[in-house]
Symmetry: T
Subunit: 145 residues, 12 copies
């Protein structure tokens, strides 16, 4: 049974509240529900977490080495600044999927740089909450599901 | 019934032959088959084309104004150089999805710039042929499918 | 009798439809009418064309060596990317006028670079359809009309 | 009756004397005569001034808020360095036309940046003295003349 | 009664000890005392905190959505590197004031970039401990105090 | 009795009229009144001036060497372009305060560079007319008032 | 028998006419004659073509996968802008030779970047028509001729 | 007796497991053993720690002000991004040694920038686990050991 | 009899007072005396002026077209920012000498750019007041004196 | 009889030994033999030298003014750093050919800049030892051989 | 018995005399003595040389291919400019150690670039004369000593 | 008696022959004669040398520590590339004068960077052979002559 971890970075706990014009009105719980539904349909388990702390995200990515077959990461703002997350991801052996609610390349220049991108197998961005289901689908596909 | 156009740019006709280490062994026909299967399952029609000519792609994107509800574009190399395609996309009123077989941000710097990105609703990249099915899924979702 | 060619590049066939907030509501036919009226008043002939294909524009600029005394070029998006058009213009011996509907320097940074500019005698930009008449006037003036 | 102000910046009083290979042999008085003739033909009044002082140009642009319906500005060297003129122009509510005798984009890189451009409705450059008549024509057109 | 939160970032707990030539000899307790005195005089409450952890600062800024009417942030080093704090501030609806003891623009280039600046209503920098009182004054003013 | 000079640069005489969305509706006279009131309360004298001319501002800053104990400068657009003002400020021996109505770092990139900043003791920006009172307060504080 | 294709890009059909100071007075027919003579002497066949269209050049490079043992490409202006040609060349398995009449590195900066260079085995530039014979010689040599 | 602290940043707990081609097969425990052996031989005490959290590293560096005579820091990924660590190190009065297992300058460009370097007395990089012993040796030497 | 004009830009009237560590203790009157002495010895006349106003310097350089055989310019801060002075100098037909008291290339980066340099025959910098005599000597030499 | 000098720069004496994957297995003696054979066939004399010293190469290029009709230079690493060689080449009046064993533009970025290129008539790069014969051929051709 | 060569570049012969605030008061002879002592203790031979000539350093690095098992290089100023030394080092098959007396990254920006770094196994910098002993220790360690 | 050394770098031995349009027709012997005449008149001795070798120039600058009171250096091309000369000059305790025949800032961009400038007291450039006399004059002046 495929084990997928879906980790969320800073400020994603405010989803639905913060800047709805950019991020939409769905909450993180809505995203989780969409992801769990798709995982269930595909016969995969899903571990879903959020933290505002870069170090906690690094800890979790390290832990995923034992607990996960694939990793979906919406690193939020740390996408653009964290070499530590980049390095942690390089130590994860399964596929990594970079996920964003909005399309960073249609936003400010400092969001155009991604430290997740170079170590990710694939990227899904700009589809709002629906992207969470697509990412689970993609992860299952990469695992041969 | 949702009408989706999926346009492919230069050298994608060589898929499966050209640099399989980067692009995989699936052919463009394989990609089309995956996309058509998913479109069929979702009750959408699919118009699937490929051209090596920037001007032809611009012509098709203009034509999509009348014929398509959503546009999926794997612009290949023109992603990184074509302001003409960028402008044509801005005149398309439905959602646009940027699609790539590989993850451009894990490749050469000149592939990091996208003229499609700023006018795309979402991006799907790095999932090889599977990405064609995901993109159709995403397009249908954006159309409320 | 002065022979003026006025060539239009990609997406200008959508004029009046595409992004009216930027480009105005006049169509390309309206522009042509204004240009023809002014040419007629000044006793000049006008050859008016549009293409979405960079190669076709290069072909036409080459052909203008024999058919035109002055060349007005609204190269659209190719203004910013086409060295091929730049080179073709260098082989044209009469005056070249760079024409734009909007003012590229008041728009995105990638529209600030012009490959037409360095080989143009003059520039007229930002006056919408009226600019077509001004450009014909300017061309006639440069030809001593 | 349309009121047009045409302001000239530093060193334009030397026109016809300074670098004729770049700027032509017409004097500023010749330019003024061409502009006045065209204004007269179009039923507009013309206020024509020149100063070498950035502060004086700022004063005049501020004064144009009361006295002018449209503003034509050949800011000369201050085009490339003056944020003060940029800010003054933003406070002018009628249309602004950027005017140059030569084509700055065919010259040194430091002339490629324009602080006038982003606040101008249109640009006319490279037509020498003839450009003064074209600019008056364009201004009258923008005022619905 | 206006509720003001004043958050301090990394190394500000060392104030008075660390590099007194740059930051002065006042301690963070001295700064707090000055801020509290001014808040008291203006009839505002003050919540004053410090952390070396970026994630904790993000948590606090999120909490300020419920607890504060205005936010004063001396983000210290995170000013120059934290997109996470930038995003958290965008979700705060009251006014944000960027505060620094020294003037970052008179220091190393890497301190010239601020991720707080673009989302701050105002900036007060370079006045040492006195700046804390000024910032409270400014916050109260913005709240109509 | 502390002597404070408060100098204003180009276009600030238009305050309240020019771009109220950016600069607010208070006039320069309102700013002066706020500054004078605060100076009076603190027992300081205030010399308040405005000019659109860079050279005049340099003259005044030089004169402040004899007449002022502290200098507050809202250099407006010259903030971003004037090395001459930078050099004049270096010759002033009392504290210098950089003042802006809006926050330049939340605006266009060319407003991010300040030639005043490296020679200023402190910066107050973004508080509109209220900033004039805060700056007087800060100046008096730096003079030990 | 070695099969060599020699493809020419935009504006090379004007050779001998366009900017003779830069490109010399030999025509493209002269170049072809020199190349054919050398190919004949070395026992190789030569396929010689020219197009102003980027897409056509991509088509031909793809076709060369079946028809050619070595590819000589004078891509003209597309050398500096075409990622599409770059990608097509990567799919060609024999040796590629980049050919120019003039030395791009002694010309404008925008000609210093080559998208052909990174995928070419060797470069011959600056020898005018004679370079066509040298390139055929080099190609034959690489094929062991 | 010299007191040396040796702090390790993010992902160094994975040493021996993560990317052995880059970082070698020695574990962090091996590194600690080598460092302790050298410290013992030189009569110094060693405090050895690791954390994935930037804030924790800042806390420890602050604590080192009281507990350590010299500080060895392998900040891992935070080397390249943390101004907070930079500032904390500036407040430490003894010598600081920057330590890396690999040579950052032989790796990706984003690893070429070091915020530790400008505040470090010396650097030891590229010697794998052996570097830990060399760094202890260097620290003891700087302390006059 | 050779006629030399020696013009001084902003803040040079403060010489001897402003930043003596950089500019020395000689006053502008001392510089003038040295220059006059050397001019007298070489049989040349000297016109010596100073202004803080860019526009006045432009006016004077224009006037030098009639009154001077050679021009020595210590443009001070305007050296680094004034395209207007650059353009005025291009209209002066005799030799121009760029003069500085200190060596700009040993100072801040924004002093490394000179708009005077490209239109000056020679440069003398870094010799303090003595440089005024050297410049007069050089000017006389260029005039064949 | 045409006199050709072929000068080789640093490390070329290690040819065949150093990095054969990049430079091939032919030795410099092999290259010399190929060049001599071709020179003999074309009735030219060849002077063939190598030095690791920039100054010696400058000396030789100066000497070539008297001894050579054409100069072929494989400057090796000095290609990318030596303005001194650039200047010496400008003083040589016959044609200069830039020669490289590998294609610098397919290697590290610091090899993309050439100080030889702007003063070379032509370039031959990437053909290994065979390039030595091609360069002699090209040189003879340029001399009308 | 391990054979180590320790080569020193330009100006290191002035050690102890030149800028003691940066480089310390130890002479190069002192450095050599420290290195020899450590080499003796570790049972290695040491060849110690210095030259101001880039070409001589290249010669020696080439010679080290036969004479040395490991190479320690303090290339001094050539670290930052010499591609020739970079290339010579790539041809050396044993380990290379980059050595500096001071920490280049705490100095001027032009010392931040190293052409030695990308081809060095490790770096030791900033420890003054003591660094010579550490480097010998590190070299012996890399050779398994 | 003041001892002045005047050192000349690469290609200056070709003076009068190489690019007379840039460097004039005077030979280096003419320059030496002018310098000697002025030194004689001022009671100073002159040591005049030239070399094409960077290392030799470094050797000579080191030797000047004992033999010279002031150093005049026309480093030619090494001005723009030699950190080694920069470092050697820093170890010279008397005044250093940077000398050029032409004005580097009116030439190619790569001549705008000077490694001599930051360690030179003054600069004399653009006066051709006459500059040699001016530099001796300046050196004597700096020595109090």
């Amino acid at each position: 049974m495929a084990r997928i971890w879906l980790l969320n970075g800073p400020n994603l706990n405010l989803l639905g509240v913060r800047e709805p014009a950019v991020y939409g009105r769905a909450t993180l719980a809505d995203c989780e529900a969409l992801a769990r539904a798709r995982a269930g349909a595909l016969g995969a388990t899903l571990d879903f977490r959020q933290s505002n702390h870069e170090g906690v995200l690094v800890d979790w990515i390290q832990a995923a080495r034992d607990g996960a077959d694939a990793l979906i990461l919406n690193a939020g703002a740390y996408t653009h600044t964290s070499v530590a997350i980049h390095d942690a991801l390089k130590a994860f052996e399964g596929p990594v999927i970079e996920l964003h609610l909005s399309n960073p390349h249609a936003r400010e220049p400092f969001r155009h740089r991604s430290f997740v991108g170079p170590v990710a197998r694939g990227v899904i961005a700009g589809f709002g909450a629906q992207g969470y289901a697509l990412a689970v689908d993609a992860a299952a596909g990469l695992l041969g599901g």
